[in-house]
Subunit: 172 residues, 2 copies
Amino acid sequence: MLPVAQDEVITNAIVRVARLHRMLAGQLLRRVGLHPGQELVMMQLWNGGPQRQADLVQVLGSDAATMTRTIQRLEHAGFVRRCPCADDRRASIVVPTPASLALREQVERIWAQVEEQTVGDLTEAERADALRVLHRVEENLTRAITPAEGSGRPRTPGPPPGCPGAPPAGEH
Amino acid sequence: MLPVAQDEVITNAIVRVARLHRMLAGQLLRRVGLHPGQELVMMQLWNGGPQRQADLVQVLGSDAATMTRTIQRLEHAGFVRRCPCADDRRASIVVPTPASLALREQVERIWAQVEEQTVGDLTEAERADALRVLHRVEENLTRAITPAEGSGRPRTPGPPPGCPGAPPAGEH
DNA sequence: GCGATTTACCTGTTCGAACAGGTATCCCTC
DNA sequence: GAGGGATACCTGTTCGAACAGGTAAATCGC
């Protein structure tokens, strides 16, 4: 009869929801030939235009090594192109190809679908509640991962991923 | 001025929270020599006792191939032992080693710590809210992934992961 | 201008996630 | 008891995530 919900802890719920969510997105993305994670890169490119790999790493909170290979695969798949940066010969600019524009529409539809399935039958109030709670948890976790402001090398500095979802995606 | 929160969608929040959560757990688990995912197997073994790989696959909602290699690595690390099943010569029973008992304490402390950091400054009511919302989303996602009850081969049938967290872990 | 440091990218490696395919074993039916 | 199918496990593969290390280039200090 503790005031605590007897079933479980938030940690478990997060793990399960994350799994299901990733699974759902992965299923849908596979149909258009993308692996989970690649769509985030493409959406960043579509929204932000051509940019350096280092920028993508920072915005997406990813790893330089992971980004290198992800870009290589997207390049091989024909969705991006790389051209040397004029200002900085170390850098290469990643450019979404015209061929990727067909993908964009599909990916945006998939993300809308994932959101719809996730929200499901939640009322507007419940949905706002969910967002509020998730943000609180996100803040908590961000603080936990950056314990002493530089002692733990958080890898994902302040702005966690960037994520797609393109707000209401009013422009298309 | 729509009634919708203008910042974003639930999908994005879930992705970020999941990342941070996994990152936090991964950081802590690395200190005791475990990779994310291995702790779930160990906790299932500690709680449920020796069991077959197939049982672990079902309870954890994992993959038989992934489980094979995870068990191999845990065996190599000295945390589990495998002995042939007497009843079924196809099966092998996975047994947590006595050496793994020292790990158990550490892993349970880590999970408690993750939960504490995740909950953070949420009040009890907010925490209950979070759980309720996460369960709703989980239900939505489960329904989305199992669209026609057998057409999509959901891979994770009904009971998603099992997750550790050992309620209050009253016995130790 | 020269050397040290930082930055940008690449490669190698380990590990989980997921899929395909293979083998041994069990079980049910004929 | 001899198929046929299901089950349990293993292996090979691709991919993202993360870490370590390595090269080239830009930048800063002198």
